[in-house]
């Protein structure tokens, strides 16, 4: 039986319980934008999908992802996620790969520019911080939340052609060590997967509302240094960091899709304050980073 949720301003009907998402009460005429179904998939993806990795295949409208011993997942038409679970796999593990790479593919198939980052609300606009795994995105989300800011999305950030960021769902993923540093008690929290020391930290005061204009984008970086610094990116240096921080950029196949992504990235670059924020490789600097970003925003409203 389907349960109904809301994420990225889409209604999601799911066979899998998704406690991370905001629940929507089913009403008689409720239609879903995205369905998540459990079912059997064929042994192999169809021939019209191009193999883009040892465990994944894609074309413009379909994405087939295998996580051996967890699940095989087919994402199609920006609307359908079909999950074929491996024997004895737990639901949390399935959710981890539905909410991350599968939703990333759904949003990409819906022609959004999907960034790897987080979204923080600032009045009627928003801040996006991007970077690869381990750059400190979730830590920064938690840092902003601790200071009373609303976190719209953590990990997968879809942006419309008009430069608006869609709100995701209210959770932040934190490792045990980071939670300890932020003085967050993990004992009542759900783990991302039962095998991992990584937790779903619920977002308090979740944002519900329309997509917000992206005004500031910060590229997260780290190096051997003692302080946190911010450097504005100008001119030709602006486009590549945006492209480098798209979520699973390999899904953009073919010249037409590449051109579209380039166009969306350039349109975004033209509207935003774009800067690189560099923190020391060691030490816990999240509060300093929040301060630096807020100070930079005050100078560049």
């Amino acid at each position: 039986m389907s349960r109904y949720y809301s994420a990225y301003n889409l209604t999601v009907a799911s066979d899998i319980a998704m406690p991370e998402l905001t629940t929507v009460q089913p009403v008689s005429d409720l239609t879903s934008d995205v369905t998540v179904r459990i079912g059997a998939l064929p042994e192999k993806p169809s021939d019209d999908l191009e193999q883009i990795g040892p465990f994944r295949w894609a074309n413009q409208t379909a994405y087939w992802l295998e996580i051996p011993e967890v699940a095989r997942i087919l994402v199609q038409n920006g609307s359908d996620i079909l999950v074929d679970p491996a024997a004895d796999v737990d639901e949390a593990s399935l959710r981890a790969f539905v909410l991350g790479p599968s939703f990333g593919a759904i949003l990409h198939q819906r022609n959004l520019l999907v960034m790897h980052g987080n979204t923080i609300r600032l009045g009627d606009k928003c801040i996006i911080c991007v970077g690869p795994s381990g750059a400190g995105k979730s830590t920064l989300s938690a840092g902003f939340q601790r200071r009373g800011y609303q976190v719209l999305a953590d990990d997968v950030v879809p942006i419309t052609a008009e430069g608006l960021a869609l709100p995701g769902f209210p959770r932040i993923k934190l490792w045990q060590e980071t939670a300890d540093q932020l003085e967050i008690d993990t004992s009542p929290l759900q783990r991302i997967r039962p095998q991992l020391f990584k937790y779903n930290v619920p977002v308090t005061d979740a944002y519900v509302g329309p997509a917000l204009p992206v005004r500031w984008v910060y590229i997260l970086n780290s190096e051997h240094r003692d302080d946190v610094r911010i450097d504005e990116l100008r001119g030709m240096a602006r486009l590549q960091p945006i492209l480098d921080n798209t979520y699973s950029g390999r899904l953009v196949l073919g010249p037409a899709a590449k051109a579209q992504q380039l166009r969306m990235a350039s349109q975004l670059a033209a509207k935003i304050r774009l800067a690189r924020i560099t923190r020391p490789l060691s030490g816990f600097t999240v509060d300093t980073m929040v301060d630096k970003i807020l100070a930079d925003i005050a100078e560049h409203p």
């Binding site: 990795g53 040892p54 992802l65 051996p68 790969f97 991350g100 795994s133 381990g134 390999r250």
Partner: protein
């Protein structure tokens, strides 16, 4: 068709020196390559490499799941246009499913860089910010691993090294692997000959003049100067500097006789095999 040549070693055995040499050899330029710009060929345990090929974040996978998927990541290198050279510190071992971690299909061969464990111990202590005795314990620990904490994110995935002797044997005694052994000490005392032989093994230019220039451009004084000027990205935060001494035989001034005895007790046979001990079992 692509494939991987591994530049394999226990940590602190000259791997970065050799990679700097390779960069300079391939560039063939008139200036030394910079240590912070060694071309993007990732270490085998690089999360970004593995994540990019798998399409999922290894941060959402268990250590065992990651290990079982790594051979397929290296296999995928056969789809690349060209041969690539990747550093690796893992021992050459089997996954829990009995598959070689460095896949047979994706692997073209390995240069194994070997250094006297008497010199590795103080260097590892500096690298880890530990005491020399702790480093000696690590060298003898059959379960020694890097990035082994499950409670936090590491830039690299877990690498099981095992003991120093076990690490050496895993690479050089692997029947299925074409392996070229390069002794760190020979890189000092017979530089041209040993670097040229390694270049030949890797099917790279081995003309004496070009090899000699690449050796000059990767000398300790050059890379240490570069680190002093702008720092080295790969330096661990616990170590004051990455390029510390860059010489062979430093142990004589750094180890106590008891520490030397401990290392020989742990690794005597392998040390003897590679000329680090004489016939009577005394350090050379």
């Amino acid at each position: 068709m692509g494939g991987i040549y591994w530049i394999a070693s226990y940590p602190k055995s000259g791997n970065t020196w050799f990679r700097t040499f390779l960069e300079n050899l391939q560039n063939g330029g008139d200036r030394p390559a910079h240590i912070n710009e060694l071309s993007g060929n990732s270490i085998a345990s690089s999360r970004s490499w593995i994540d990019d090929v798998l399409g999922v974040e290894t941060a959402d996978l268990t250590f065992d799941e990651i290990e079982r998927l790594r051979p397929a990541v290296y296999d995928w290198a056969t789809t690349y246009d060209s041969v690539s050279y990747h550093k690796i510190h893992d021992a050459n071992r089997l996954t829990s499913q009995g598959e070689p971690l460095i896949s047979r299909r994706g692997t073209l061969g390995a240069v194994y860089i070997l250094r006297n464990p008497l010199d590795v111990a103080p260097s590892l202590a500096n690298h880890n910010g530990s005491t020399i005795d702790e480093a000696i314990t690590a060298l003898g620990n059959p379960d020694y691993a890097l990035a082994g904490s499950e409670h936090r994110w590491h830039r690299q995935v877990r690498q099981v090294l095992g003991s120093w002797s076990g690490h050496v044997a895993s690479w050089i005694d692997s029947p299925a692997l074409t392996c070229h052994v390069l002794r760190y000490e020979d890189m000092h005392t017979a530089a041209l000959e040993s670097f040229a032989a390694a270049a030949r093994f890797l099917k790279l230019p081995d003309a004496a003049e070009r090899v000699a220039q690449a050796i000059r451009f990767s000398e300790f004084s050059v890379v240490a100067q570069q680190e002093a000027e702008v720092g080295f990205r790969e330096r661990p935060s616990r170590a004051e500097r990455f390029f510390r001494q860059g010489r062979a035989g430093g142990w004589q001034a750094q180890l106590t006789p008891q520490q030397v005895d401990r290392i020989i007790a742990d690794h005597g046979p392998m040390m003897q095999r590679f000329g680090y001990l004489d016939a009577s079992g005394a350090p050379v």
